[in-house]
C-alpha cells in the first residue's frame, strides 16, 4: 500500500513518541515564509507595541506576525516590497537614533519611536522610497487583522481577542452567558 508523505511523517512522529516539527519548506529551518529572522524580530517588536500584552494576550501571544508573514505570500503579495523596504528603514532609523536595533530598544523608546513614525517625524533620509506614515498605518492595520480576525489565517491564536472582548466562541446560541449590569440588576430585583 502506498503511504502518503503526510501519513508517513505522522507515523514516524508517533513511532518516535514526540512531536515532529515539520517546516513549511523542508530543508530550510526558518519558521517564516516571507520575513528573514531579523525582519521578523522587528515586526514582532513593532506589533507587540501596537497590541501589547497586559492581563490579556498581546500581538506576540496571538501570533500576529505569523498572520502577516502568511498573508505576504498570499493575498498581500502586493505589499512585499513595502514591507522589505519599510522594515529596513525602521532598522536604519533606529540605528541612527539609538545605535541599536529597533527590537533591542526598551518599551518607552520603541513606543516613542513609533509615535514619531506615526506623525511622519523620523529622519527623512531613510524614508525616500517608503512613506513612513503609510507604512505605519499598513502594519497597524495588518496587526489589527491578525489579532482580531479569524484564527484560520494564522493569528488570533485560540481566539484570544474574542476572549478579551467577552465574545464567546464558538457561539452556542441559547447557551452562552453574558455579564451585563442591567441583566444582573434585574435579576437581583426578583
Amino acid at each position: 500500500m502506498e503511504t502518503s508523505r503526510r501519513e508517513f511523517l505522522r507515523q514516524l512522529s508517533l513511532a518516535c513518541g514526540s512531536v515532529l516539527f515539520i517546516p513549511a519548506c523542508a530543508g530550510y529551518d526558518s519558521p517564516w515564509r516571507f520575513f528573514s529572522e531579523k525582519e521578523a524580530r522587528t515586526v514582532i517588536a513593532f506589533a507587540g507595541q501596537i497590541i501589547p500584552a497586559d492581563q490579556d494576550a498581546g500581538a506576540t501571544d496571538a501570533n500576529v506576525v505569523n498572520f502577516i508573514d502568511k498573508q505576504l505570500i498570499g493575498p498581500y503579495t502586493r505589499f512585499q516590497e513595502e514591507y522589505r523596504k519599510g522594515i529596513s528603514a525602521i532598522e536604519n532609523s533606529a540605528q541612527k537614533l539609538f545605535q541599536k536595533a529597533f527590537y533591542e530598544l526598551d518599551r518607552d523608546n520603541q513606543t516613542g519611536f513609533m509615535e514619531q513614525m506615526e506623525a511622519g517625524k523620523l529622519p527623512e533620509e531613510f524614508w525616500t522610497e517608503v512613506n513612513q506614515r503609510s507604512f505605519f498605518n499598513l502594519v497597524l492595520d495588518h496587526s489589527m487583522q491578525g489579532f482580531y480576525g479569524s484564527p484560520r489565517h494564522g493569528g488570533n491564536k485560540n481566539y484570544v481577542s474574542y476572549k478579551m472582548m467577552r465574545l464567546d466562541y464558538p457561539h452556542v446560541l441559547g447557551q452562552n452567558r453574558y455579564e451585563s449590569k442591567c441583566a444582573t440588576a434585574k435579576l437581583m430585583e426578583l
Binding site: 497590541i51 498581546g58 472582548m165 465574545l167 446560541l173 453574558y178 451585563s180
Partner: protein, 550 residues
C-alpha cells in the same frame, strides 16, 4: 458546439436578474441566466470576518476575485489608480448566485412616494441631475408587494407612520428589538419620534420552506448557515430552474451585447468557465449586472448604430452614479448594550426622510449591525489613540457599551459622477474595465450633517455619556448600493431606458437593476431593485406573443 438560441438572456443573477429570469421562465420563455460567480454557501467562508462582504481585506467571500478583476478610479486631482475588488473604492457588489442578497443585512425598504418625485417636491438643485421618476410609487406598489411575499419579509405593517400606502401586510411578523433598540426606542419616543421594527428580508418564522432566523452575530456580510435569510438564490432562482425553462450558467463573464445593423440585440458574447469565448443568441437581452457593471457592459457593446456603446448615443450611460452617503452618530453608555442578538439592527426611525425644513430628501436612521472585532478596532471617538494600551483597553471595555445610530442619506445625483470604460486597463479576459470618476454632490454633506445631529440627540437622550458624529457625504459614490447609471425616463435625450427598463432605440434590450433608479431613496435599495425586477419582467411577459414583442 453552438449554443441553442433562446428567447431571453439575463445577465447577472442578483436581486433584479434572478427575479426577471424567474418571471420569464415561468411564463414559458426559454431563458439563459448568466452569473460571473458560482453558488455560495455558509461553509465556504463561515464567520470569517476578514473574508466577508463587510470586511474584504483578504478577499471577497462572494466574489469577484482579485486575480481576474480590476477597476480604475480617478482621484480628485485627475490622476488614476488601479483598484482590486478587495479594496473599498472598487465599489464591489457580490459576484455569486443571488449576489448581494446572499450576504446582505436584508433590510426590506419600500421607497416613499416623494422618493419618486424628488424634483417636483424639492425643485432644481444647482449642479445636480435631480429629477422625477417616470413612474410613481403606486405603479410600483403591487410589485413591492410581490417581492415581499415571494422573497419573504418580516415586518410590522402600519408601525412606520411615514410609510406610503400598502395594500397588503407583511407576510411575516417583525423581529423583536434587541437591547440597544429597546433603549433607543424609548429615547426616540421621548423626543417625539416614531421608532419601529426594521422590515427584513429574513424569516422571523418558518417561511418558504426555510427555517426561522436564530439571530447570528455574524449575519450582515455573511451567508446564513440555516438559510433563514431570503435572497433570490433560495427563492426565485430555484423556482426559475424548477420551471424547466431556465438554464443557469455560472462562472461566465459576459463581454459584449451583440447588436445587428438594424440596432437590435441579437445575443451576447461571453467567456465560459474555461475562459473559452462563446456566443449565445436570444430574442431579448436583459442586463442586471448592477450599476457599475451594467454600464460597463453597455459601453463595451459598440456597433455601427451605437459607436459609443449600446443605448449611449446621448452620452447618458454610466452617468449619475449614486450610492448612499452613510451618516449618523456613535455614543458610549455606562452599561453593556450589546446582547449578542444578531444581526444587531432592529430599530428604524424614518422621521428624517422627507418633510424636514431646509433638507432635500433625507434618510432613515437605524441602530447598527453588530460590528465584528476587527471592524470595531476602527470605531473610535475623534482623537482617540489607535494603538497601544489605550487601544486595547478601549477594545476590551467599550465593545459592549458602544451604541450606534446611522443610516443612508439620499444622495443628490450629478452628471459627472460616472462610469466609463478605461482605454488601457483590461481584465483577465481582455475586456476594458470600468473607470469610476467624479464625486458626490456638494449638497450631500449638508444633509448628512442634519441627520447626524438628530442621531446624536437621540443617543444623548438614550443616556450616552459621550457622543460623536460621523458625517458622510464626500468623495466618490457607488458602493454596494450603487444605482442610477442607466436612468429610466420619458425623454430619450436625458435618460437611457423608458419607464419599463427598455433601452431607448433598442426595443429588445432591457435593464433590470438599480441602474434604472433616477434617484436612490433614503433607504437600502434591495427591495426596490426586486420590485423593479418584477416590474420589468411583467412588462416583457405581457408584451411577448410567443416569438417576439406584440
Amino acid at each position: 458546439m453552438k449554443n441553442k438560441h433562446v428567447n431571453a438572456i439575463v445577465v447577472g443573477a442578483g436581486a433584479g436578474g434572478g427575479i426577471v429570469a424567474k418571471e420569464l421562465a415561468v411564463a414559458g420563455l426559454s431563458v439563459v441566466l448568466f452569473e460571473r460567480g458560482g453558488w455560495a454557501t455558509y461553509d465556504d467562508h463561515n464567520d470569517d470576518e476578514l473574508i466577508s462582504q463587510r470586511t474584504t481585506v483578504l478577499g471577497n467571500a462572494f466574489g469577484p476575485d482579485d486575480k481576474r478583476h480590476r477597476r480604475v478610479v480617478v482621484n480628485s486631482d485627475g490622476s488614476t489608480r488601479i483598484v482590486l475588488p478587495s479594496e473599498g473604492s472598487y465599489s464591489n457588489n457580490a459576484a455569486c448566485v443571488g449576489s448581494g442578497t446572499v450576504s446582505y443585512g436584508a433590510m426590506a425598504w419600500r421607497f416613499m412616494e416623494k422618493d419618486f418625485t424628488m424634483k417636483s417636491t424639492y425643485g432644481h438643485v444647482e449642479g445636480s441631475t435631480l429629477d422625477d421618476w417616470p413612474i410613481n410609487y403606486f405603479d410600483l406598489e403591487p410589485y413591492y408587494e410581490k417581492a415581499e411575499w415571494e422573497i419573504g419579509v418580516s415586518g410590522e405593517s402600519g408601525a412606520n407612520p411615514f410609510e406610503s400606502h400598502r395594500e397588503k401586510p407583511y407576510p411575516m411578523p417583525p423581529f423583536a428589538y434587541n437591547h440597544s433598540a429597546n433603549i433607543l426606542a424609548d429615547a426616540a419616543k421621548r423626543l417625539g419620534y416614531s421608532p419601529f421594527p426594521i422590515p427584513m428580508l429574513r424569516n422571523s418564522v418558518r417561511y418558504g420552506g426555510r427555517p426561522a432566523c436564530y439571530r447570528m452575530r455574524s449575519c450582515v456580510g455573511f451567508a446564513c448557515p440555516v438559510n433563514a435569510k431570503c435572497g433570490t438564490h433560495n427563492t426565485v432562482i430555484p423556482t426559475a430552474l424548477d420551471s424547466g425553462n431556465c438554464e443557469l450558467r455560472t462562472h461566465c463573464q459576459v463581454a459584449e451585447i451583440m447588436l445587428d445593423e438594424k440596432g437590435r440585440a441579437t445575443g451576447v458574447k461571453y467567456f465560459d468557465e474555461k475562459d473559452k469565448g462563446q456566443i449565445q443568441t436570444a430574442d431579448i437581452v436583459v442586463v442586471s449586472a448592477a450599476a457599475v457593471e451594467t454600464a460597463r457592459l453597455l459601453l463595451n457593446s459598440k456597433s455601427k448604430l451605437f459607436p459609443n456603446g449600446a443605448g449611449n448615443n446621448n452620452d447618458w450611460v454610466g452617468r449619475n452614479l449614486q450610492g448612499h452617503a452613510y451618516t449618523g452618530a456613535h455614543g458610549l453608555m455606562n452599561d453593556d448594550v450589546y446582547d449578542d442578538v444578531g444581526p444587531g439592527a432592529t430599530l428604524a426611525i424614518a422621521d428624517f426622510n422627507h418633510d424636514n425644513p431646509g433638507i432635500v430628501g433625507g434618510g432613515v436612521l437605524c441602530n447598527e449591525f453588530t460590528a465584528m472585532p476587527y471592524l470595531f478596532s476602527k470605531m473610535r471617538p475623534p482623537g482617540a489613540k489607535r494603538w497601544g494600551p489605550e487601544h486595547k483597553e478601549y477594545q476590551r471595555s467599550q465593545f459592549k457599551k458602544l451604541i450606534r445610530l446611522h443610516g443612508p442619506f439620499q444622495e443628490i445625483p450629478n452628471f459627472e459622477a460616472r462610469v466609463t470604460v478605461d482605454s488601457e486597463v483590461k481584465d483577465h479576459w481582455g475586456i476594458p474595465v470600468a473607470r469610476l470618476s467624479g464625486s458626490r454632490h456638494p449638497y450631500d454633506p449638508t444633509g448628512c450633517q442634519y441627520m447626524s445631529e438628530r442621531a446624536e440627540e437621540i443617543l444623548k437622550e438614550a443616556g450616552a455619556y459621550h457622543t460623536w458624529q460621523r458625517v458622510g457625504g464626500r468623495g466618490l459614490s457607488g458602493g454596494q448600493h450603487q444605482a442610477g447609471t442607466t436612468r429610466m425616463g420619458n425623454d430619450p435625450k436625458i435618460s437611457v431606458t423608458n419607464k419599463f427598463g427598455q433601452v431607448h432605440e433598442i426595443d429588445n434590450l432591457f435593464i433590470a437593476d438599480g441602474s434604472l433608479c433616477v434617484t436612490n431613496g433614503g433607504f437600502n435599495p434591495a427591495l426596490t431593485i426586486m420590485a423593479l425586477g418584477y416590474w420589468v419582467g411583467d412588462y416583457i411577459v405581457k408584451n411577448w406573443n410567443g416569438s417576439k414583442f406584440k
